[in-house]
Amino acid sequence: MLVDLELIGQFIPEFGEGIVLTLELLVISLFFGFALAMVLALFKKSTNLLLNYSSRAFIYFFRGTPFLVQIYLIYYGLGQFEAIREVQWLWFFLEKPFFCALLALVINNAAYAAEIIHNAIVTTDKGEIEAARAYGMSHWQSMRYIVIPSALRRAIPAYTNEIIFMLHATSLVSVITLLDITGIARKLYSRFYAPFEAFITAALFYLLLSILINFVAHRLEKRFNRYLKVNQ
């Protein structure tokens, strides 16, 4: 027998803290990532050239390069500069792998999510905006009450994919010594030399989390996009 089921049973409890860390990283980075993404998406729509170009450059850079290299750039790269190491409160965070991983996840997520949100904003039905203006709403009022809520609803399917991608991306934090689900699997592998049991168990946890995320997102989509069915 290639896979030892008893060993898998023995491994499962070991993954507890790994699951907690993976979820912690995922939830915190999605929260801050969303906030940053909103800002970036609005900057990208802005007519102010400085805001517009800086947002575009940010999105272009972080969507065009691998997440793994971004982690290295933050965790190993920033320490190269004396100026950063001298700022005590900053270095307090940046010398810890957890905060570096979090920073990398937030930035990466923001770049992708900004693109999704921007896309949803620019594809808003013209009639919705015209109606808002006809009611006497200012540009910002129509953004705040009509365009953004409508765009976020329509962004749910794409955003769900992004959340699953983020879950997968968290597995790369194991390269900077963090013990997330993948980190635990790698530790168990090297202790027991049992690659199938270690990595298949990890894979099952990820699969389960993906299914869970998809299930919740599907429910949300059904609830928030009910009104779209009527139009079709």
Partner: protein, 221 residues
């Protein structure tokens, strides 16, 4: 510094090699998965569905570690039985197999969507004119598949290009691996990882230009 700079560029060539080999494998697997999922054969469509679900639910890195370390054990048992001694798994082969296998699933979804978008009436018309099945695929389905699927294909291409970087974790000496080595010996990690980022940006930008050109030449409407 200059030596390492040249080494990183050599690593970039290996990255491209890895990418194109994986691309070929993923396209072949993708076509297979797409036709299996669309076929009337229940077993084939179930296997194809399972393949896509597993790949989409599990991170690339976990799959790669499974193939690399697990594959080594299977290979050891195999060579032991044949009395061939110890064979070490090549990280390049391992990388191509894993990345090709992973993106085969994504390509499969892309191709399936593209095939479904082709009007059935046209296929029937072609068959009525006496086209062979191969001819129908080559002359009718394929050009329209490219038209419908190119955007999603481009997306897969770009994600895959970036995913090649994870093979450095199992010891393939691609540009990310070399940047790691260079960083620790020159103590200039920011410089080297930024260099790798810029090379990736060049690769992704060229790819995007090229694929957009193809997209524009396959416009019908």
């Amino acid at each position: 510094m200059v030596d390492y700079f040249i080494e990183v560029l050599k690593g970039a060539v290996l990255t491209l090699e890895l990418f194109f080999l994986s691309l070929v494998l993923s396209v072949l697997l993708g076509l297979l998965a797409a036709f299996a999922k669309l076929s009337k054969n229940k077993v084939a469509s179930f296997i194809s569905q399972l393949y896509v679900t597993i790949i989409r639910g599990v991170p690339d890195l976990v799959l790669m570690l499974l193939v690399f370390y697990g594959g080594q054990i299977i290979l050891n048992q195999f060579t032991e039985r044949l009395g061939l001694g110890f064979w070490e798994i090549n990280p390049l082969i391992s990388g191509v197999l894993t990345i090709g296998f992973i993106f085969g699933a994504y390509m499969g979804e892309t191709f399936r969507g593209a095939i479904l978008a082709v009007d059935v009436g046209q296929l029937e018309a072609a068959r009525a004119y006496g086209f062979s099945p191969f001819h129908v695929f080559y002359k009718i389905t394929l050009p329209q598949m490219i038209h419908h699927g190119i955007s999603s294909f481009t997306n897969n291409w770009l994600v895959m290009l970036k995913s090649t970087s994870i093979v450095s974790i199992i010891g393939l000496k691609d540009m990310v691996y070399i940047a790691n080595v260079a960083s620790s010996s020159t103590r200039k990690p920011f410089f080297f990882f930024l260099l790798v980022c810029l090379i990736f940006l060049v690769f992704t930008s060229i790819s995007l230009k090229m694929l957009n050109k193809i997209k524009n030449s396959y416009r019908f409407e």
